[in-house]
């Protein structure tokens, strides 16, 4: 996933996967694929919430105010 992907985009994708899990009869291969993708997205989202991104911090620190 590129750095550009926003949190809300990730969440949207997660919700999409949820909807598919809820409605579709996915075959096992697709199911595995979807779950792996969801896990990946959730991990990225959690990191955004809980881990300081030094890049953002640096931009703000370097900025004149």
């Amino acid at each position: 996933m590129s750095k550009k992907t926003t949190y809300s985009e990730s969440i949207k994708e997660i919700e999409n996967i949820l909807a598919q899990l809820e409605n579709d009869n996915l075959d096992v291969d697709t199911l595995t694929e979807k779950i792996q993708r969801a896990a990946e997205l959730i991990k990225i989202c959690k990191e955004k919430l809980l881990k300081t991104d030094s890049e953002i911090q640096k931009i703000l620190d370097d900025m004149e105010s």
């Binding site: 809300s8 949820l18 199911l31 989202c45 959690k46 911090q57 703000l60 900025m63």
Partner: protein, 433 residues
């Protein structure tokens, strides 16, 4: 002829006297404060004006004073009731006595102020500002912005020395539940005459780099007698409501909301409350995430379970199908076997019968054959017997030998050869001639 006259002082004293008679008691008047200076032991020197409501032109003006002994009581009461400092631009209902001093002229002495009038006026003005914003179609612009799921990058407009700023940062860092926040202070003067411009300047600065922020917070320290004047200005409200990022206000007041509060995306009582709000928002986002995670696990399990059930069903079907198949196969095999057996039995029987017939026939034939052969042999034997030399001799034939060998031709015999002639009975010895 000298014109009758009185001196300036006499006039002044007369004016003073007649005013005293006409205005023996304090009068309630409506006016607007155009200037206010606190001087010398907390006396207040005020300039009051009245404007023409149509043209906004000043149509009356008067000096007023409020002596420290009164002002010390009036000021805190007024400010705690209205939430505003007594300041220029404010409409007031004051009780005053009319004074005239021979040196300083006409002035009013303020004895009392009715804050409810000012509150009413402020409310009216706020309402006017809000109506104006509404007419311009911008009133709810900020409120209508989607609040970010992750309000992490925060542009703070505050005074670096403000207690509220410290409270805000403290709350964010100490009660964040581990959530990450990025803050950047855009310093501004938060009270006094320059506040409005200073805050608007700070907003403009944030605007130039708004893409690296999620929200703007406008905060300042609390206090019972906060000067909220600048937060009731049209200009600041217009800037805030049209700002591309959600604006959160935490300007620390306990009374009626200001125009800023009304247009801000979220309005909270204190900077600490703003920080709590942001943490709560992120927490909601986090819980949504955890929920989604849990749901995915549950649903995935359900799907897997379904899949498993399906497999089991198929397997069962297969198994029962196989059994049935085997059963059917066995049945038909049995039938075939049975038939085969029957057929083979029949065949065997038939064969046996045939064989029996054959062998009987064969036996019969063989017997005939043997008999025939026997007969033939007997005949042959007889014939052979008839042809033996003994039998031939017996029939009268004789046999001539020369030197023990059978003579078959005259040429074999020369004169004088001794010959033996064998007969059925006896021999004849002779000599050829």
């Amino acid at each position: 002829m000298p014109i009758p006259s009185i001196s300036l002082l006499e006039l002044s004293l007369q004016v003073k006297e007649s005013l005293k008679q006409s205005f023996s008691q304090a009068v309630w008047i409506r006016a607007e404060i155009s200037e206010l200076h606190e001087k010398y032991n907390d006396h207040a020197y005020v300039e009051l004006i009245e404007k023409d409501p149509e043209s906004d032109r000043i149509i009356a003006k008067a000096k007023a004073t409020c002596w420290a002994s009164t002002y010390r009581l009036l000021k805190p009461f007024f400010e705690s009731t209205t939430g505003e400092y007594l300041s220029a631009g404010m409409k007031v209902l004051i009780s005053c006595t009319v004074e005239f001093h021979e040196m300083y002229g006409f002035s009013l002495n303020i004895r009392d102020i009715d804050p409810t009038y000012t509150i009413g006026d402020l409310a009216k003005r706020k309402l006017e500002i809000l109506r104006r914003l509404e007419n311009e179609g911008v009133l709810s612009m900020n409120k209508n912005l989607a609040f970010p799921l992750l309000p992490q990058r925060i542009a703070i407009i505050s005074s670096s020395s403000a207690a509220g700023y410290g409270d805000f940062l403290h709350q964010l860092t100490h009660s964040s539940n581990g959530f990450v926040f990025y803050t950047k202070l855009f310093p501004a003067t938060m009270q006094g005459d320059g506040a409005q411009k200073s805050i608007i300047d700070a907003l403009d600065k944030v605007f130039t780099c708004n893409e690296i922020f999620d929200v703007v917070v406008i905060i300042r320290g609390g206090g019972a007698t906060a000067d909220l004047h600048c937060f009731n200005s049209y200009e600041l409200a217009a800037h805030c409501t049209q700002f591309p990022l959600p604006v959160l206000a935490g300007i620390g007041h306990l009374r009626d909301e200001t125009v800023l509060d009304a247009v801000a995306h979220e309005s909270l009582k204190t900077p600490t409350a703003v920080a709590e709000y942001l943490i709560e928002k992120i927490n909601e986002t986090y819980e949504t995430l955890l929920n989604a995670q849990q749901q995915i696990v549950v649903l995935a399990n359900r799907q897997l379970q379904n899949e498993k059930q399906k497999l089991i069903r198929i397997l069962r079907q297969l198994l029962s199908g196989e059994k049935e198949f085997i059963y059917k196969q066995t049945l038909s095999l049995n039938a075939v076997l049975h038939q085969l057996k029957r057929l083979s039995e029949k065949q065997t029987k038939r064969n046996t019968t045939t064989l029996d017939g054959l062998s009987q026939k064969l036996q019969g034939k063989f017997h005939l054959y043997i008999t025939y052969k026997k007969n033939t042999l007997a005949l042959l034997e007889k014939e052979v017997e008839l042809l033996t030399p003994q039998n031939l001799l017996k029939k009268g034939y004789s046999l001539t030998l020369k030197n023990g060998k059978i003579v078959r031709s005259v040429s074999q015999v020369k004169t004088g050869d001794q010959l033996i002639t064998k007969l059925h009975e006896g021999e004849i010895e002779s000599v050829a001639q």
